[in-house]
């Protein structure tokens, strides 16, 4: 303490320049960082000095605000080649944007009611959208035309996802059914009576042998794709209705968001919850979370307090909070190759915001 007294004099005013806690033991690691108002240009922070010191933090700042939706947004997704961003919402169209320039490209028109989810095929040529009119449309994004209309669900289709080979599509509906579709033919191959309540998320694993689904009945179930058998159920606690699940990029773990304002990382083989992420607010809406692996390893999720939270995957502490939206952030997406995050909000703030972390990827 005493040897450092002399040093305080020279750096009294500016507390924001150096975040290295080695110099200043007063700043505890877990203190939530001050809210950063999005500046016009990113203010460069002094990079952490030692490798064993404080961990890397992301420095996302607002790049574009995309306006155009006239009703609440429900999902935003980057294309696998990173060139396009698709968004959908209560409006009956899918909007395609360029994330680099922030300009609006086109509308995909065809659905008769609002949309809940979209998914890109791996070659970024086709897009599938799930709608309240109980159908799924597969669009050719270049031409904007509907290539296939998938009928079969009896109630609103809430979520859907392609597999990596993009020959299969899995969708979940509010009738509790999970359907597996053959995309080339547009036919439903299998229907799994998976849940008793709205199915809120479905996801394939890397080689499409497993499907994970979660529903408002509070259960996460893992299914075998080829025969539709249920392989495992991960039940959350009674208060924790899970509303979004997905596999990790290597498909060994499952990330789930729940209505008790927690995000959990599960090892589904041992049914153990490995990590818990807290700090945001999530009690009512279906808010998605995702992995960010382009820079450091983060978990990104929206929140009902109008902010977007970024956690460090390993230490579970909040490393950045993105402010800017004026309403609940329901949709988040991470760019496949760049340090870019897209967030979408509802009702009073009908904007999609694109945040970029300009720093180069860590060499380690």
């Amino acid at each position: 303490m005493d040897p450092l007294a002399g040093m305080d004099d020279s750096s009294t005013d500016d507390e924001t320049t150096s975040q290295t806690t080695e110099d200043d033991p007063q700043v505890p690691e877990n203190q939530p960082p001050q809210p950063q108002a999005p500046p016009p240009g990113p203010v460069p922070q002094a990079p952490p000095t030692a490798a064993i010191g404080p961990r890397e933090r992301p420095h996302y700042s607002l790049r574009h605000t995309l306006r155009g939706h006239t009703q609440s947004i429900s999902a935003v997704k980057f294309s696998p080649d990173g060139k396009l961003l698709a968004s959908c919402g209560a409006e009956t169209v899918v909007k395609i944007w360029s994330p680099e320039t922030g300009e609006f490209l086109r509308n995909l028109i065809g659905h008769t009611q609002g949309l809940s989810d979209i998914s890109w095929s791996s070659d970024s040529v086709y897009l599938a959208s799930a709608s309240d009119d109980t159908t799924i449309r597969i669009w050719n994004v270049e031409t904007g035309l509907t290539h296939k209309l998938l009928k079969g669900h009896t109630k609103w289709v809430f979520c859907l996802n392609y597999n990596t080979a993009s020959n299969l599509l899995v969708s979940g509906g509010c009738d509790g059914d999970v359907r597996i579709w053959n995309t080339a033919r547009g036919k439903c191959m299998k229907t799994l009576h998976a849940h008793m309540d709205y199915v809120t998320a479905v996801h394939f694993n890397r080689d499409a042998t497993l499907i994970v689904s979660c529903a408002l009945d509070g259960l996460i179930r893992i299914w075998n794709t080829s025969d539709g058998q249920c392989l495992k159920t991960l039940a959350e606690g009674h208060d924790a209705i899970c509303q979004h699940v997905q596999f990790s990029p290597n498909s060994k773990y499952i990330l789930s968001t729940a209505h008790d304002s927690t995000i959990r990382l599960w090892d589904y083989q041992t049914t153990r919850c490995l990590k818990i992420y807290k700090g945001h607010v999530n009690a009512k809406y279906c808010i998605s979370a995702c992995f960010s692996v382009t820079g450091g390893k983060w978990i990104v999720a929206g929140s009902e307090d109008h902010k977007t939270y970024i956690w460090d995957l390993q230490t579970r502490e909040i490393v950045q909070v993105l402010e800017g939206h004026t309403d609940i952030v329901v949709a988040v997406a991470t760019h496949p190759t760049q340090n870019m995050i897209a967030t979408g909000s509802i009702d009073s703030d009908l904007a999609i915001r694109i945040w970029v972390d300009p720093r180069p990827r860590p060499s380690a």
Binding site: R206, T209, Q229, C230, Q269, K275, K297
Partner: protein, 482 residues
């Protein structure tokens, strides 16, 4: 990837038909990943079925007469078809035009009975003609050649009417070519030099009708006209002499021994012949397709249990014409003479315990022994601390371990036959497959790239795992031909 969640206590051979395709097929073969089936149709075209969607996805129209054999390249990018119309065609499935155009074609002067790709390079092709001649065609620019495999020339003796070749296959390493003749001999040629390195008499067998290897290449099963399947353990063939020795015109002596089979499989009651046979991926099971005209019969023998008959599968009334075991799973594809392809599997009974979280099925009752501190009242704070500490562990969410490496790293023993993920090509000696006979399944030294493999891998063919993609062709509404 779903194997860990499925009950591991299952038999490893198929027992029931899972699905059937009305494909009009003469025969059907799995590709190396097991995701696709290539089926040859009557009068020339070939069709590719996707097993994930259970629908045909490609139509390859190039031959004008029936296809006689189909072979996949090691990462399923290229397909080789040979036909009675004297042609062998190579198709590139990565091509984006639909219908797919032929990539290459080779013309001969007689109907082609069979053709296959070299396991490491699809530009080296082995072809067998109906006249009993076998050729190795090399399509690579520097090695462009078409060499006939002839036992007499390699001997250095004058031609003396060698018997026609009736079946020819590469061994799984690609270093040698095994050839069966009408006289009941098994000849072994070196792929690179095309010289004969061994000649084995199989006593009692008539003409050799077919050959199949285990994945490791250590064992071979032959089908001959005496209606018996014979399994052999192959001797190790000494490496070829260097060029220096060859220059002195000393022809390398070839190994001339009679091979004794380890097992003989036949139908003792009816003495029906066999149309086809196929090993399971771990080499523990052998499936034989019977030529019984009254029904569809497949016999499965348990090699690890001294070749005992494990089961006889009945596939209905349409007789079998061909059989192929899935390269990774316990699944078979058999073709009937009416053109249907039957996919066999071992059905997993549904585990009802999976529907409730926190339940685990066990085989026997387990007596629970509680710990000393089981009922101690714990301080909330201490519990919380412990939980927080447990969560400190590093979690790796994005490194991917492919199937082959996982088998080695996981060390799960015989359970982990090479399933899941990308199939890595068996390259330079280290075999990742857990096989019952591990002797000699490691090639010439672990890290040495031997001459044969280096020669084969010169000028690679672009068929790499993950290096190409099968485009999903979205069909128009009208193109529904079923």
């Amino acid at each position: 990837m779903n194997e860990s969640l499925i009950n591991p206590f299952t038999l490893s051979h198929p027992t029931a038909v899972q699905t059937s395709f009305f494909a009009g097929a003469l025969f059907a073969r799995f590709d190396a990943t097991g995701r696709f089936i290539a089926a040859a149709r009557l009068n020339g075209p070939a069709e590719i079925w996707d097993l994930e969607t259970r629908a045909p996805i490609r139509w390859l129209d190039g031959h004008v007469k029936s296809i006689t054999s189909i072979d996949w390249s090691r990462n399923s990018r290229y397909l080789l078809t040979s036909s009675k119309d004297w042609n062998v065609l190579v198709w590139d499935l990565a091509s984006t035009c639909d219908p797919p155009q032929r990539h290459n074609s080779i013309r001969f002067d007689a109907p082609v009975v069979s053709s296959s790709f070299h396991p490491n390079n699809s530009q080296i092709i082995l072809v067998l003609l109906a006249t009993g001649e076998a050729y190795v065609c090399d399509l690579r620019k520097q090695h462009k050649s078409r060499v006939e495999l002839d036992e007499d020339e390699s001997n250095g003796q004058g031609p003396c009417g060698s018997s026609p070749i009736t079946t020819a296959r590469f061994d799984p390493t690609g270093k040698n070519i095994f050839v069966g003749t009408a006289a009941g001999y098994l000849l072994v040629f070196n792929t690179r030099t095309k010289t004969m390195i061994a000649r084995h008499k199989i006593s009692g067998a008539g003409a050799m009708k077919g050959l199949e290897f285990t994945k490791s290449g250590r064992r071979l099963v032959t089908n001959s006209s005496d209606r018996t399947l014979r399994q052999f353990i192959l001797p190790t063939y000494s490496p070829l002499p260097t060029d220096a020795e060859l220059q002195h015109h000393t022809y390398p002596p070839f190994l001339d021994v009679e091979l004794e089979p380890t097992h003989r499989f036949n139908d003792p009651i009816n003495k029906t012949a066999w149309h086809a046979m196929s090993y399971s991926p771990d080499g523990d099971w052998l499936a034989g397709g019977s030529a019984d005209p009254s029904g569809h019969k497949i016999y499965i023998w348990d090699i690890s249990n001294d070749g005992q008959l494990a089961s006889a599968l009945d596939g209905g009334r349409e007789p079998l014409v061909y059989l192929h075991w899935h390269p990774a799973k316990s699944s078979l594809a058999s073709t009937t003479n009416q053109g249907s392809i039957l996919i066999w599997h071992h059905p997993n009974p549904e585990r009802w315990g999976a529907f409730a979280g926190g339940f685990e099925e066990v085989d026997e009752n387990v007596q629970y022994e509680e710990r000393e501190d089981e009922f101690d009242i714990e301080d909330e704070a201490v519990l919380h601390e412990r939980k927080m500490k447990a969560e400190e562990e590093e979690v790796d969410i994005d490194t991917v371990v492919t199937g082959a490496e996982a088998a080695v790293l996981g060390g799960k023993g015989a359970q982990s036959d090479n399933k899941g993920g990308a199939t890595t090509p068996v390259g330079n000696g280290i075999s990742h497959f857990m096989d019952t006979d591990k002797l000699g399944s490691v090639g010439l030294g672990d890290d040495l790239i031997d001459v044969e493999t280096a020669w084969a891998e010169e000028d690679p063919d672009g068929d790499t795992p993950g290096g190409w993609k099968m485009k999903v062709i979205m069909e128009d509404e009208a193109a529904d031909y079923y």
